[in-house]
Symmetry: C2
Subunit: 211 residues, 2 copies
C-alpha cells in the first residue's frame, strides 16, 4: 500500500495511526500542502478531491480519512478499530464525526486561507475562529466520553477509530494554543494514546517530510 | 424510534431519507434551530452535541447523521444502503464525506452566525462564502461520480448512503442560488432521487414543522 499524505495534516495522521495499529506496512508518499502539491498532476487526477490523505491499495485509490480507516478495518480486521455491537459502533463513529465533521473542516488550511485572503480577517481574529471551533467541539467530545463507556481509550480499553481522530486534533489544538483544561477526560485518553507506539511513531515530527 | 430533527436541517433530511428507504416508522420530534431549541433542556443533555439530528431507539440515543445511517443499516440491513464489497463501501463513504466533511460543516447555521456576528461579514460576502464551498465541493463529488460506478444513483442502480447525503445538499445549494451547471452527472442523480418516494416525501417542505 501507499499513503499519500502530509506530516502536518491531521486527517493524514489519523490514517497513519490506523495503519500502525493494524501493523500494516506502506510506502510514505509526501504531498506538500503549503506548496500546493495536491493541485499538481498526477496527484490532482488520482486523488479526485485534491486533498490528503489518499490510500493506494493495489491499483485502487481510497480517499477521505474516515472512509480509508473503515476500509482498512474491513480488509484487515485485526485488531478491530470499531466495536462489535451496533450501538458501540455508532458511538465510536459519532465521536469521530464530532471532530471530522464539526471541528476539523472549519480549521483546515484552505479555510484559513479563505478567511485571510477573501474576507480580510486579521491574524488575531483568525486564531480566535480556530480556537472557538476547537474548544467548543472538544467540549462535545468530552461530554460524550462521560457516558461510562470510555476506558483507557475512547471506547473501552483498546485504541480504535475515535482515538485515531482525537489525537491529531489535540496536536492541532496545541499548535494554536487552544484551551484544553475544560476537557480532562479527553486529555487523559490523549496522554494514554501517546504512550502507545502506534500514535507516537506516526506523529507529525516523526514523519519523513517533517520540517 | 423517535427522530429529533428540523425540517430545514440537511443533516436531518439525510436520516429521514434513510428511514424512508428502510421503510421504518418513527415519531417526528421537531427541534427548532432558529429559536435555539437545541440548547434547551431536556434536549441539550440528551443530544450531547446540541445538534440535530438525534435518533432515539428504545432507551438509546444515536447522534451524528452518518453514524445514525450506518447504525440503521446495521440494525435493519434491508435494503442495504452500502454496497457489499469493501472498495464499493469506501467509495460510497467517501462520497458522503465529500459533502458531510467538506461542504456542509462550513455552511451550517452556527457557522454563518459566527461569520455575521463575530467577523462582521456582510450578507453578500456571506453568500459568496456559502456558494464557494458548495460549488467547489460539488465539483469533487461530480469527479468522483465519473469513475464508471454510478448508475441511476450514486453507486449502481439502487439508492444508498451517498444519495441520502447528496440530495439535501442540493436543496441547500438551490436555496442559496449556487451554480449547478458544472455538475450534470450529480444533478441527473438528484432528479432521479426526487422521483423516488423516500426522497420526495421526506423533503423539507413536506415535514410537519415546515414553515
Amino acid at each position: 500500500m501507499e499513503l499519500f499524505n502530509y506530516f502536518r495534516s491531521s486527517a493524514s495522521y489519523r490514517v497513519r495511526i490506523a495503519l500502525a495499529l493494524k501493523g500494516l506496512d506502506y510506502v510514505y508518499r509526501p504531498v506538500h500542502l503549503v506548496r500546493n502539491e495536491q493541485q499538481a498532476e498526477p496527484y490532482a487526477t488520482a486523488s479526485i478531491s485534491r486533498l490528503v490523505p489518499l490510500l493506494k491499495d493495489g491499483e485502487s485509490y481510497v480517499g477521505q480519512s474516515l472512509a480509508i480507516i473503515e476500509y482498512l478495518d474491513e480488509t484487515h480486521p485485526e485488531p478491530p478499530l470499531l466495536p462489535a455491537d451496533a450501538l458501540g459502533r455508532a458511538r465510536v463513529r459519532a465521536l469521530a464525526q464530532d471532530i471530522a465533521c464539526e471541528i476539523h473542516p472549519l480549521n483546515n488550511l484552505r479555510v484559513l486561507r479563505y478567511l485571510t485572503r477573501e474576507l480580510a480577517v486579521d491574524e488575531e481574529a483568525k486564531n480566535r475562529w480556530y480556537r472557538h471551533w476547537v474548544e467548543e467541539g472538544l467540549a462535545v467530545f468530552e461530554r460524550r466520553l462521560a457516558d461510562g463507556q470510555a476506558g483507557q481509550f475512547c471506547h473501552g480499553d483498546q485504541p480504535g477509530l475515535a482515538d485515531c481522530v482525537l489525537v491529531p486534533q489535540i496536536f492541532n489544538a496545541r499548535r494554536f494554543d487552544c484551551k484544553l483544561d475544560h476537557v480532562p477526560r479527553l486529555m487523559q485518553v490523549f496522554e494514554r494514546c501517546m504512550q502507545h507506539e502506534a500514535f507516537a511513531k506516526t506523529q507529525p515530527s516523526a514523519c519523513p517530510d517533517a520540517e
